[in-house]
């Protein structure tokens, strides 16, 4: 931990750092305009709660929460399936492995906003009955799940490959099948190791829910835009930004906590 002197130095440096930033903002030629346009207390509060004609940014943010909660659950499952399929050995499964590889290559390569357009405007155009009449939010979730599963599948795969081959040998030598070894021995160790990078991807996902607005859904960023456009005040953007940060910080701290715990555990292991 930090010593007394170190705490003093770090506090001084923090104060100085923010003082300089604040000074630049306050002394900037347009500082009064910015204060009025972005930080006006009245507009901060009004955009948060909404008016009769403008949607509440806080209310709209619930849609972001809904989108990323559903997406994260689906991504955890789909990505795991892709990672496992990619690792199945044997010539019979060659086409499955190819599909898994093509999937990750494709969806990691296309910008999310393009996937949103292609799914959100393309699938309804297909005229495929129910599939073509889903809500904008649902198409948004599908696009997010498709793109993020490609990333998370690679995270899982790295985790599975990091578990030493001798663990599989031990499991198989006890008579466990390939699938049982994966389920009880390899995956539990792999998932533990990839929790930090996995949560990191989820932090990215939470912010990217704002992009679903391109399909017409009124989520926090779009609600802020509507407020800004009609009131000529951008405090709504600051409010939306704060809401995203507020929901991201706990996840970021939780990730740090898991990394620290894993480190402690491993160090305890080497001493014993």
């Amino acid at each position: 931990m930090l010593g007394g002197r170190a705490v003093l130095v770090s506090s001084m440096s923090t104060v100085l750092f923010f003082a300089v930033i604040a000074l630049i903002v306050v002394l900037a030629p347009g500082s009064e305009v910015v204060a009025e346009r972005f930080f006006d207390p009245f507009h901060l509060r009004q955009s948060l709660l909404g008016t009769e004609s403008e949607p509440s940014v806080a209310g709209a943010f619930l849609l972001n929460v809904y989108i990323f909660t559903i997406s994260e659950l689906l991504i955890l499952i789909l990505a795991l399936i892709i990672a496992v399929v990619r690792g199945i050995p044997g010539p019979v499964f060659f086409p499955f492995r190819m599909v898994a590889i093509a999937y990750t290559d494709l969806f990691r390569g296309i910008p999310l906003i393009l996937v949103l357009y292609i799914i959100g405007f393309g699938v309804p155009g297909l005229g495929l009955g129910v599939v073509s009449y889903l809500s904008d939010v649902t198409y948004g979730i599908i696009a997010l799940v498709l793109v993020y599963s490609a990333y998370v599948a690679e995270v899982y795969r790295a985790g599975i490959e990091s578990v030493h081959e001798s663990q599989n040998a031990a499991a198989r030598s006890l008579g466990l099948s390939r699938w049982q070894s994966l389920r009880f021995v390899l995956l539990p160790q792999a998932v533990r190791r990839v929790i930090p990078p996995l949560l990191n991807d989820f932090i990215g996902l939470q912010k990217d829910t704002a992009l679903v607005s391109v399909l017409g859904s009124i989520e926090a960023a779009r609600a802020a835009q509507i407020y800004g456009a009609s009131q000529f005040n951008y405090a709504s953007y600051v409010v939306a930004a704060l809401l995203f940060v507020l929901i991201t910080i706990p996840l970021a701290r939780f990730t740090d906590h898991l990394i620290a715990r894993d480190k402690r555990r491993r160090q305890a292991g080497t001493v014993a």
């Binding site: 030598s173 008579g175 466990l176 009880f184 014993a272």
Partner: protein, 256 residues
């Protein structure tokens, strides 16, 4: 199937002309070996002589290139054999323990009996506790592997293999990764097993132990069994000059 049936019983293990190569490197060059029920056979020889590979082939971790391996009358090198079922009968303990680090001792031991033998939790735990009790590990049942000493980990690994009630145990250099002061507790456990009549095929560098415990010692060099016989004979008056050279090196190194 009529080789080596000295006592009219089916042999626990028969190897006939087993060959195994890794690429260009032929590691096993025609191994013939029979292990009778309740027999303890020790494989000795320098590193790279093929001891570990032989055990891996018996456990079907490595496929053989040619030859037959027969366990209790069943040819396990046949392509039709169910690998998972064969492995239930054969316990193997590795040099590096290979315990599952995310599971407690109890979970390590009960995993295979529950998932493979389909025992219910109570039966599997009963079996595990009984074994832990008899090997003096019962107070470690809820510990995780990384909180145990190497000797304790290796004893747990032995218990984990025994929980499947195998008819044959393969031990692959099980004391080589241990600090010297921890070797005795592991060897003690193996001696206990031998006393109970467990059939064992043991690859080892511990010559004193091999002399103590083995009914038969096989000397391997460059993928062949050059000489085999009772330990009294092999360690005192071996016929083969290569065996003599090997043992002289061991004695010079102070390990016998």
């Amino acid at each position: 199937m009529n080789s080596g049936e000295a006592r009219g019983e089916t042999p626990a293990l028969v190897l006939q002309d087993v060959h195994k190569s890794f690429g260009e490197n032929e590691v096993l060059k025609g191994i013939d070996l029979t292990v009778e029920p309740h027999e303890v056979v020790c494989l000795i020889g320098a590193s790279g002589s093929g001891k570990s590979t032989l055990l891996k082939c018996v456990n079907l971790t490595e496929p053989v290139d040619s030859g037959r391996i027969v366990v209790e009358g069943e040819e396990i090198t046949s392509s039709r054999v169910d690998v998972n079922r064969v492995r239930r009968k054969i316990g193997i303990v590795f040099q590096a323990f290979n315990l599952f680090p995310h599971m407690s001792v109890r979970e390590n031991i009960t995993l295979a009996p529950r998932q493979v033998l389909k025992l219910d939790r109570k039966a599997a735990e009963g079996r595990a506790l009984e074994l832990l009790e008899s090997f003096g590990l019962v107070d470690k049942r809820d510990e995780y592997p990384d909180r145990l000493s190497g000797g304790q980990q290796q004893r747990v690994a032995i218990v984990r293999a025994l929980a499947m009630r195998p008819s044959l145990m393969l031990l692959d250099e099980v004391t080589s990764a241990l600090d010297p002061e921890l070797v005795a507790e592991v060897l003690g456990v193996i001696k206990e097993l031998a006393g109970e009549g467990m059939t064992m095929l043991i690859a080892t560098h511990e010559m004193g132990f091999a002399r103590d415990i083995a009914n038969r010692v096989c000397f391997l060099e460059e993928g062949r069994i050059l000489e085999q016989g009772p330990p009294g004979k092999i360690f005192t008056s071996p016929d083969n000059s290569r065996t003599r050279q090997f043992l002289q090196r061991i004695i010079a190194a102070g390990r016998l």
